[in-house]
């Protein structure tokens, strides 16, 4: 078990980080190249001003008509997205491991906040899962991959919570925690999770179209 953990938290972690980073860059690069070849308007109309205006708007909770129409989903969604990014990056245990390996550290979340954040992530996922099942318009659009993605995101957080509480089988769970976290990281560029890094580009382009061509709001 120790060997498996050491392997998972060592070489395998490198693999997943490289797959994540290279995957994101490759996909962005490919899209940028494709756009240059076949979507000339993307470059012609992209405007920093209107792109940022739109991105900014859509990052303000309740800042758009769409959000105001779905207040619960908006609140859950914002809390979820904030937590899902902040908790892993600023968890003390993660920063400590990084410090021990590379001597570099950064600000960390208080344990209470990290704990609450983890619950927010899991509760958010339960909400999204429920929404997919219950709302007909979402259910119709949801395939097995959409549900699987929610589970994939849930795994590292659920196992982390489990290990934090020293639940039964904590050794296996910790191994699972590391492996599922790595799987999640490596999956980002190749699944719909890629919305994480594509958001600013899509939003920015539509913001530019609406701002500089259509002279209208896109929120």
């Amino acid at each position: 078990m120790t060997k498996a953990y050491v392997f998972a938290a060592g070489p395998l972690l490198w693999v997943s980080v490289i797959v994540f980073a290279a995957g994101c860059l490759l996909r962005l690069g490919r899209l940028a190249w494709l756009a240059r070849k076949k979507d000339r308007p993307v470059y012609a109309y992209m405007s920093a001003h209107y792109a940022l205006r739109s991105i900014g708007r859509w990052l303000v909770p309740m800042g758009t008509e769409s959000m105001r129409k779905h207040p619960v989903t908006t609140v859950v969604s914002f809390a979820f997205h904030a937590a899902v990014v902040l908790v892993p990056l600023f968890l003390f245990a993660h920063v400590l491991l990084f410090y021990e390996a590379f001597g570099i550290s950064w600000w960390t979340l208080p344990e209470e906040a990290a704990y609450a954040g983890t619950l927010v992530v899991l509760a958010g996922l339960v909400y999204f899962f429920a929404r997919r099942l219950i709302r007909p318009e979402v259910r119709y659009l949801s395939g097995p991959a959409d549900f699987a993605l929610l589970v994939l995101v849930a795994l590292p957080f659920a196992t982390g919570l489990w290990a934090f509480h020293h639940g039964p089988g904590v050794r296996v769970v910790m191994l699972l925690h590391v492996l599922s976290g790595e799987a999640l990281l490596a999956a980002i560029p190749f699944t719909k999770l890629s919305h994480m890094f594509l958001f600013p580009f899509l939003r920015g382009y539509m913001g530019s179209e609406f701002g500089s061509v259509r002279h209208a709001r896109d929120w």
Binding site: Y5, L96, Y99, E100, I134, A163, H165, H166, P168, V170
Partner: protein, 129 residues
């Protein structure tokens, strides 16, 4: 038909999550507080200090050289034939992350090298917060 099934699944999932969250802190409460690694420089503990039974550990690990842990370092070199027994680690290692890293370096790295002993967070910091 379908919505009912959906709601059943959801209900079950919700119960499971709630159970996990509410019941888990109870695990491991029945243990008597063992002696722990301690240092006055730790003003607050993110995790409860790791339980550490000094003599039992060293008997089991067949450690006789005190300086293996209680080392003295000068100019980046471990001084032979000297030990720092009686000093607090923080006297050299400071506080905060460097001090924590020093402890982890002593325990975890040795456990990892020898393949003996725990290396996971929860396997040393066995008392939940």
């Amino acid at each position: 038909m379908k919505p009912i099934r959906a709601k059943t699944i959801l209900g079950a999932a919700l119960v499971a999550v709630l159970a996990l969250v509410s019941l888990t802190p109870a695990w491991g409460r029945d243990q008597a507080p063992p002696p722990v690694v301690s240092d006055s420089a730790f003003d607050h503990h993110r995790r409860r200090a790791a339980p550490f039974a000094h003599d039992e550990h060293n008997d089991l690990a067949a450690i006789e050289d005190c300086a293996l842990c209680h080392h003295v370092v000068e100019n980046g070199r471990v001084k032979e034939d000297e030990d720092s027994v009686g000093m607090e680690c923080s006297e050299c290692h400071g506080s905060g992350l460097p001090l924590i890293a020093a402890y982890h370096g002593r325990c975890k790295e040795c456990h990892q090298e020898t393949g003996l002993g725990p290396i996971l967070c929860a396997t040393c910091h066995t008392v939940p917060r």
